[in-house]
Symmetry: C2
Subunit: 199 residues, 2 copies
DNA sequence: AGCTATAGTTAGTACTAACTAACAGAAGTC
DNA sequence: GACTTCTGTTAGTTAGTACTAACTATAGCT
């Protein structure tokens, strides 16, 4: 791993754990196994380290393309795929997401970065529901509302488990919660006539 | 307002905004309109201020009693009531919830405090679903799973709106999202025969 | 009026964190 | 082998922060 990467990884880790002010350059240097001087030589200041980290280390994907590859036009499978993709994406970006909650508008570009995926997912779901409706596989509904609540459910699950309650509120496994949540929306959006067929 | 209260309010505010390390005793004193000395005379140290604030200023209610008073045994009304109660509770405790995400286990008693309501709500919902099931008003299902996803949906909505995206992802009003989310679960849990009756 | 309790003020201490300067050593390139 | 580039090391500067000490001022109570 290159030295820049070691520094940025260590920085994201420590800042997510202790907050921007709470994480010291000394700690970051130690965690990255480089000397403190090297941080400053590479990035100039602590603030710039964080900015570079957010910019380069937010794992980002093109939802639309991925979705188009994987879509099956079966509501349960597709929603599960979206939920799992979103969940995995948040896991990969866990530290940056935490920093976004903590530092929010104090780091330029951070909120935009973090809001990118939800925004993409919302649009993607709306379009998907509309197409499914044309095919007679999804009932008439307010799709943006449905999409938002679906995403909020995933988001709440992730945040709660990752940052505040862990396993301490429910012992149900992560995967079961996700499939259970998907089921609720599938049930809700599937037309009556298709339900009979499916059963 | 008493001087202790002014200090604790100011402290919660500043620490939620800037993090524990980021909020200085000087700022807290200014915001509380008292001298910095008064902070230390009243609470001894910065850490003790936060602990006192979390201890005294986490607005807490007895869910069970409130619920028993308000329950109507109509699924849609009851779930809406729970969702609104939960949402309002989180709004009141917004700052403490943010501090819990940020400082987590570094402040003793904090996570326990913040996890109390979700835990209560989970149990309450499970019992409610079971009773509704006995009355033939809710289908057989995994009630803990349903309860968790219902709560995660509310939680995700609150966190997203309050701390990271604001209104920037959807323009749908808060209340509409809540009622929409409730509808999904109502639809999902209502037995077929009751649906016909209701329509 | 005098006592008590409490808040404000000012000055100061001890410590820590971000950041700099200057030098020394190691590795690769020509 | 000299030159360049990069990293480590050490020592130090500067600024800010939690916290203390000692004195002053004020307001309520008797």
């Amino acid at each position: 791993m290159k030295i820049d990467d070691k520094i940025l990884n260590a920085a994201i880790d420590m800042i997510a754990k202790k907050g921007y002010k709470g994480a010291t350059t000394k700690e970051i240097a130690e965690k990255a196994s480089v000397s403190e001087m090297t941080l400053f030589r590479h990035f100039g200041s602590k603030k710039k380290i964080l900015e570079a980290a957010v910019d380069r280390y937010y794992y980002s994907i093109q939802m639309k393309e991925l979705f188009e590859q994987k879509v099956t036009w079966e509501l349960d499978k597709d929603l599960l795929m979206v939920a799992e993709t979103y969940h995995n994406l948040m896991k990969k970006n866990k530290n940056v997401i935490k920093i976004a909650i903590q530092e929010g508008s104090r780091v330029k570009g951070l909120l935009e970065q973090v809001n990118k995926h939800p925004r993409q997912l919302k649009e993607l779901l709306i379009n998907y529901f509309e197409e499914m409706n044309r095919r007679g596989l999804v009932v008439d509904s307010e799709y943006e509302l449905q999409a938002m609540n679906f995403l909020y459910m995933s988001y709440g699950h992730f945040i709660s488990r990752s940052f505040v309650s862990g396993e301490s509120i429910t012992s149900i496994a992560e995967d079961n919660i996700i499939t259970g949540g998907v089921k609720v929306f599938v049930e809700n959006l599937t037309p009556e006539r298709s339900k009979a067929v499916m059963q």
